[in-house]
Amino acid sequence: MVDSEIVLNGQTYAYTAYAVVIILLIGWFGIKLTKQGKSSAVSNGLFYTFVGFLTVLGVSLHIITYNTIPWVPSDLNRSDIKPDKVFSITVGNHKFILPSEKLMVDVNDKVLFDVSSSDLTYGFGLFREDNSMLFQMQVVPGHKNDILWMFDKPGKYSIRSTEYSGPKGNAMIVKNAVEVTAKTNK
C-alpha cells in the first residue's frame, strides 16, 4: 500500500523539479528580455493553451490524488466503513486521555480514532520515531473528530497535538503511544 512516506517523497521530487524549472525559466526570460533582437508578439493561441493547461492541471491533481492516495476515499466515506478497532480518546486541559497506556494495533487493521475535546481546539497527529508525520487531524470542541487509518507496517508511533492551543500545548506529546505489530493468530 502507498503510505504517507511515499506520498511525501513523491511530492518532494515533483515540487523540487518544478521549482528548479520555474527558477531557470524566469532567469532565462530575464536574460532574453535584455538581449537585442526582434520583438515578436506572443500569440493568442499560446495564451489559450496555457489557460487550458492550468485548468487541466488544477483539476487533475485532485483526481490523481483521490485515485492514488489510499486514505482519501476511506476518509471521505469513513462512516460507511466498519473499523476493526475503535479508540475513543478525550483531550482536555492540554492532556490526552487514552483508553489504555498503549494502543495496540495489528498490521492491516482499519483503526478508527475518535477524539473529542472538552475545552479548546487541539490537533491529533501520529508521528514515526524519526519525527516524520503519519497523519493528523484537527480536534474541535463540541464536534465529532474521527479518522480512519489502516496501518500497513509494524512500528511505534507517538501522539502529538498538531494544533496550537496556547503555550501549554507544546508539551502535548505521548511517546510511542501506538504500537503496530504483525498480526498474530487469534
Partner: protein, 543 residues
C-alpha cells in the same frame, strides 16, 4: 559631496521636502512607517529563526508565542497595509486624474494603522497575549492562559487598524465616483460599475456594436476589486474582535460567559472566510493589478489580453469569497462537499487566475524587448517568480490527501506563505517603491545602485532559500507552531536561519540606500507640514 553631507542632505541634495505636496508627504509617511514595521517583522522573524535552532533561555515560551502572534499581524497590517494604502491613495487619484476625495480621511487612515499596530504589538509584548492570528475558539477567551486586560488592548489595536482600513475603503470608492468641485457631473454609478467589473460582465451579453468602453483603467479596477475584499475582511475582523471583547470585558467584571455559546467549527468557518479575503483575495488581486501597472509603465505598451486580465480579476474576487474551506480540510466535522468544492475545486481556480496574471505580465514585457534591467523590472521578475513558486505549493496543500500530512507543518508557512509574502508580494512592492520613488520625491536620486543590486539578490536568495528549507523540514514532519528542544530539525533550521540573515542584510541595504538618498533632514522633513495645496497630488509646476 562628503559622506556626512549626503547623510544629512541626501544624494546630491536633490530631495527637497519643502517642494512636496501634502499628498506626497503622506505617501512617504506611509512608506517610512511601513518600512519601520517591516523591520519589526524581520527582527521578530530572526528571533524565531534562532529559537527554532536553539530555544533562547532569556525568552520564555509564552514570550515566543507572543512574538509568533504579533509577527504576521505587524507584517501584514503594519508593513504591507501601510505600503499598499499609501501607494493606492496616491495611485487612484493619479490614474483617475482627479484629486483624492478626502485628504483628511487618508491622514486618519495613516494615523489609525500606525497607532493601532503599535497598540496591539505593545499589548502582546507586555501581556504575552498569544492566541495567534487564527484565534481558534475558545483560545482567545481562555483566561487561564492569557490576560483579559492585555487581550482587550490587543483587540483594541486591531480594531483601530480596521477602522483606518474602512476609511481607506471609503476614500478609494469615493475618489473613483465623486465629482470634484468645478467639474462636469461624473457618472458615479457607471464609474463604480466599471471599477467593480459589472459593466464588463454586462458587455458579455451585449452585441459587439453595443459594447461599452471601460471607464476606469485596469489598475484602478484591480484596486477597487481588491478593496471590496478589504472591506469584507475589515467587517469580519471587527465583528470577531467585538465578540472576543465581550468575553474579556465580562471576565474583567467577574462574569465568565460560556464558551459553548459559540460553536467552534462555525466560528472557524466564519473567521477563515474573512481571513482568506486577505490571503486569497486582496493580496492576489492587488498584486495582479500592480503587475499590470508596472508592466505597462516599464514597457510603455498596452497590456497583453487586457479583457482577459479584467475578467480574471473579477473571477479572482468571486473565487476569494468561496475558497475558505481549504483551511478546514483536516477538520473532520467539516462537510465533505465543502472540502471538495470550496477546499479543492474552487481553490484550484487560483492556479488559473494567478497563472493568467503571470502570463499576461510576462507577455507584455516580452512584447517590448529589449528592455534595460532596471530595479523595477528585476524586482517585478522576482515578484512573479515568488508567486510562481508559492501558488502551486498552496494548491498542493489544498488537497484532501496531501493536507492530511502537510497541515500545520512548516511546509505551509515556508514554501507557501513566506515565499508568497516575502518573495512574491514584497518584491512586487519593492518594484513599485523603486518605480514611484522619483515621482513622489520630485526627482530624488538613488544613493547607490550597488546597494540596490545587493538588496535584490540577497532578498531573492534569502526569501526562496528560507522557504525551501522550512518546507523540507515540514516534509520531514516539523510542525509550524511547535518548539523543538532537542535539535530534531537543526540542519534545516540552521540553513533557514542563514537565509533569514540574508533577508535581514537585504533590508539593511535597502534602508541605508533610501536614508542616504533622501538624507536625515529629508526624513525629518517628510513629517513636517506641507505649505502646498492638499488637493494637488504633485507640485503645480511638475504636472
Amino acid at each position: 559631496m562628503t559622506f556626512k553631507d549626503t547623510f544629512l542632505n541626501g544624494e546630491q541634495g536633490l530631495f527637497k521636502p519643502a517642494s512636496l505636496t501634502p499628498m506626497q508627504k503622506l505617501v512617504l509617511r506611509f512608506v517610512v512607517v511601513g518600512l519601520l514595521y517591516y523591520a519589526f517583522a524581520v527582527v521578530e522573524g530572526m528571533i524565531m529563526r534562532i529559537y527554532q535552532i536553539e530555544p533562547i533561555t532569556s525568552i520564555p515560551d509564552y514570550q515566543y508565542y507572543a512574538i509568533l502572534t504579533a509577527h504576521p499581524l505587524v507584517g501584514i497590517f503594519g508593513a504591507t497595509y501601510s505600503l499598499v494604502f499609501g501607494a493606492f491613495l496616491f495611485l487612484v487619484p493619479f490614474l483617475m486624474k482627479k484629486p483624492l476625495w478626502s485628504f483628511k480621511l487618508a491622514h486618519w487612515t495613516f494615523l489609525l494603522v500606525t497607532i493601532g499596530t503599535f497598540t496591539f504589538w505593545f499589548a502582546g509584548f507586555i501581556s504575552h497575549f498569544a492566541p495567534l492570528y487564527t484565534l481558534y475558539w475558545p483560545l482567545p477567551a481562555d483566561f487561564t492562559q492569557f490576560s483579559p486586560l492585555g487581550g482587550t488592548f490587543f483587540v483594541l489595536g486591531i480594531a483601530l487598524v480596521m477602522v483606518g482600513t474602512v476609511f481607506f475603503v471609503i476614500n478609494v470608492f469615493k475618489t473613483i465616483a465623486y465629482t470634484p468641485e468645478g467639474w462636469e457631473k461624473q457618472p458615479a454609478g457607471a464609474l463604480l460599475g466599471s471599477a467593480l467589473g459589472l459593466s464588463g460582465l454586462k458587455n458579455l451579453f451585449r452585441k459587439k456594436e453595443d459594447k461599452k468602453e471601460h471607464l476606469v483603467s485596469l489598475p484602478v479596477a484591480a484596486i477597487a476589486r481588491g478593496t471590496v475584499d478589504t472591506a469584507f475582511n475589515a467587517g469580519i475582523i471587527l465583528f470577531t474582535g467585538v465578540l472576543i471583547l465581550v468575553y474579556m470585558i465580562a471576565h474583567l467584571f467577574g462574569q465568565d460567559l460560556k464558551h459553548t455559546a459559540v460553536d467552534a467549527l462555525l466560528y472557524k468557518n466564519w473567521f477563515w472566510w474573512g481571513l482568506d479575503l486577505i490571503a486569497d483575495g486582496l493580496v492576489l488581486i492587488f498584486v495582479a493589478g500592480t503587475w499590470y501597472l508596472l508592466a505597462t509603465l516599464i514597457t510603455g505598451k498596452k497590456l497583453f489580453m487586457e479583457n482577459w486580465a479584467r475578467a480574471a480579476l473579477f473571477v479572482e474576487m468571486v473565487v476569494s469569497w468561496t475558497v475558505w474551506s481549504h483551511h478546514l480540510l483536516s477538520d473532520q466535522a467539516q462537510p465533505g462537499i465543502l472540502k471538495v468544492m470550496s477546499g479543492e475545486m474552487v481553490t484550484a481556480f487560483e492556479l488559473i487566475t494567478q497563472g493568467l496574471a503571470f502570463f499576461i505580465t510576462l507577455a507584455t514585457l516580452w512584447s517590448a524587448r529589449p528592455l534595460q534591467m532596471t530595479n523595477p523590472l528585476k524586482f517585478l521578475l522576482g515578484g512573479l517568480l515568488g508567486f510562481a513558486l508559492a501558488v502551486p505549493a498552496g494548491i498542493m496543500q489544498a488537497d484532501i490527501g496531501l493536507n492530511r500530512i502537510l497541515h500545520n507543518t512548516q511546509w505551509i508557512i515556508g514554501p507557501h506563505v513566506h515565499v508568497a509574502v516575502l518573495v512574491g508580494l514584497t518584491m512586487t512592492l519593492y518594484s513599485a517603491v523603486y518605480t514611484l520613488f522619483p515621482i513622489v520625491t520630485n526627482g530624488a536620486k538613488l544613493y547607490s545602485q550597488k546597494l540596490a543590486t545587493f538588496h535584490f539578490w540577497a532578498h531573492l536568495i534569502g526569501g526562496i532559500g528560507m522557504g525551501a528549507f522550512m518546507g523540507m523540514a515540514g516534509l520531514k514532519g516539523m510542525l509550524r507552531r511547535a518548539i523543538y528542544f532537542d535539535g530534531e530539525f537543526n540542519l534545516y533550521m540552521i540553513l533557514a536561519g542563514l537565509c533569514g540573515t540574508l533577508l535581514l542584510l537585504a533590508f539593511l541595504a535597502f534602508f541605508i540606500n533610501i536614508v542616504m538618498s533622501v538624507g536625515l533632514k529629508g526624513v525629518i522633513g517628510i513629517f513636517t507640514p506641507s505649505k502646498l495645496n492638499a488637493k494637488d497630488l504633485l507640485p503645480a509646476e511638475s504636472k
